[in-house]
């Protein structure tokens, strides 16, 4: 498997001097093509900062981030899905996807077909003409995912994308993301604080310590990606065992905090 993402000795702090807040690190991480890495950690442990470093929105205070051998640049090789859909309300659903295709360099003639494909991928066929405020929160997040996939990024970054959705919608989106990103070697780094979401989606789970976020545990998830219905998978004893293992690792980081305080 080829290396997609490498973080070496990465540390990041916000602010300067005595006001500096250490948010992340020191931290080393390799992500291979085709891996679905889920980062779990308590609130404020630097998960969003980690994604922003990988997306190229922040540069590490020390250490290096390399995506496909180069420092990351926003909009190149990575797609980002934020917690809020951040759709442009002055454009229709189709308009949002078309803008992404245009910025990705897709020729005008190919955009209409590509947009239809992307909408079908996220299960929103026929909703292209809708205004973004006319569709539900779950559908908006689906559009955001389609938009992030427009440039066919090698790596998809998702920052608690389902945290604001109701439980049923969340489960359906989890299932779709699981199958969607399991294609042609694309990698994903998905941030959540839900242990169940982590076990369900990941091929590998990284548990972060409390701030500044370091790697507390690195757990492989050898569950089948296809062929087993979600409800059945969740009932597997292996699934329950992994849940228990991850939950224990997360709890361990929390007790550390309590002992320190």
């Amino acid at each position: 498997m080829s290396t997609l993402l490498t973080l070496s000795g990465v540390q990041h702090h916000y602010g300067r001097g005595t006001r500096a807040v250490a948010a992340v690190g020191p931290l080393d991480l390799h992500v291979n093509a085709g891996e679905f890495v889920v980062v779990v950690g308590p609130s404020g442990s630097g998960k969003s900062t980690l994604l922003r470093l990988i997306a190229g929105f922040e540069h590490p205070s020390t250490g290096t981030v390399e995506l496909a051998g180069q420092p990351p640049v926003p909009g190149r090789d990575v797609g980002v899905v934020f917690q809020q859909p951040r759709l442009f309300p002055w454009r229709s659903v189709d308009g949002n996807i078309n803008a992404a295709l245009r910025w990705a360099g897709v020729p005008r003639a190919d955009r209409a077909a590509a947009s239809v494909d992307l909408l079908a991928k996220v299960g929103l066929s026929g909703l292209g003409a809708r205004r973004v405020w006319e569709i539900s929160g779950g559908q908006q997040q689906r559009v955001a995912i389609a938009r992030a996939l427009a440039a066919r990024p090698r790596l998809l970054l998702l920052d608690e994308p389902f945290a604001a959705l109701d439980a049923l919608t969340r489960e359906r989106l989890q299932e779709d993301v699981r199958t969607l990103t399991n294609r042609d070697g694309q990698g994903a780094v998905f941030v959540t604080h839900s242990v169940d979401e982590a076990v369900f989606l990941a091929t590998r789970i990284i548990v972060l310590t409390d701030r500044p976020g370091r790697i507390a545990a690195d757990i492989a998830v050898p569950l089948p990606r296809t062929g087993v219905p979600a409800a059945e998978l969740r009932a597997w004893p292996e699934y329950a065992a992994l849940r228990g293992q991850v939950a224990a690792a997360v709890r361990a980081t929390l007790t550390e905090v309590e002992e320190r305080v």
Binding site: G75, R131, V132, W133, A151
Partner: protein
């Protein structure tokens, strides 16, 4: 009453709905009634002849002037060579040119001000200064520089129109939700693409508010602009009529200017609703 509302929403919703319908129905009706009462009082006061006809003509006389000045075959081509509507057209053309130039400059300058802090620091005091000046005050300078043809009039309206647009645009641009900008950058948008596809549309509702203000100011300044060699406009007609004590023509001019101004404003409100239907939804 209030307990009934909470306990029986189904029952109370019916009278509430009809009350809303009644309000929608009575509002324009009330306005019309108020207008009729006003004209009635005017008629009574004019007929009482407390002041001579020279000072206060009757509504009927003003109406008569409307008919006379609209008639190009009345021996003076309407009024002083052109009909009321031709004059209105001339004035509106000036307002349109002045507003379009002013809006163009305002949006461009405001964009620069909002994007480049140094530009804002340099230009903002100047814009604020211009905004504080009454247009009539700089008309003299414009006449010296540009003569007495169309230019100084259009420039006057332009200078009156651009500051509110520039200020509104600059404020809108600095206020754009950074999350949209970041989302666009994450999708590969660069430099000008971010400005054209995110910052400008995100600012549109606020810019349109500035435009509405600007057109109002330009329109309100057209009479001032026509004090110098502007006899062919509607403001010129009012100024001319004043010289000859034709009070009914003056009043007619005011009414036409006022009603047209209201129409333009409601048109702009409708336009901004049309152009930013997402206003307040994101």
């Amino acid at each position: 009453m209030s307990t009934e509302v909470t306990e029986r929403p189904v029952v109370t919703s019916r009278p509430r709905g009809s009350a809303r319908r009644a309000r929608v129905f009575t509002r324009p009706a009330l306005a019309l009634l108020a207008l009729l009462v006003l004209v009635g009082i005017w008629q009574l006061v004019a007929l009482a002849r407390i002041w001579p006809e020279q000072l206060l003509p009757t509504p009927g006389q003003v109406w008569h002037q409307l008919l006379v000045t609209s008639d190009s075959g009345n021996g003076q081509g309407g009024y002083g060579g052109s009909t009321l509507w031709e004059r209105l057209g001339v004035s509106l053309r000036r307002v349109a040119y002045g507003s379009v130039y002013g809006i163009g400059i305002g949006v461009g300058l405001g964009l620069l001000m909002g994007l480049v802090p140094a530009v804002r620091a340099t230009v903002e005091p100047l814009v604020t200064f211009l905004r504080a000046l009454p247009p009539l005050a700089y008309l003299s300078l414009l006449v010296i520089w540009f003569g007495i043809d169309e230019e100084p009039k259009v420039y006057l309206l332009m200078i009156a129109a651009f500051p509110p647009v520039a200020v509104a645009t600059a404020a809108a641009v600095t206020g754009v939700n950074r999350q949209y900008v970041e989302a666009a950058r994450a999708l590969g948008a660069r430099g000008w693409q971010v400005v054209a596809s995110v910052i400008l549309p995100a600012s549109a509702p606020e810019i349109l508010t500035g435009v509405r203000l600007a057109v109002g100011i330009a329109y309100g300044s057209v009479v001032a602009a026509e004090t110098v060699n502007g006899a062919d406009g509607i403001g010129g007609m009012v100024l001319n009529a004043q010289r000859y004590n034709q009070t009914s023509v003056v009043i007619l001019g005011l009414v036409v200017i006022g009603v047209t101004g209201l129409l333009i404003d409601s048109l702009l409100v409708a336009l901004s609703r049309l152009l930013s239907p997402w206003r307040g939804r994101a």
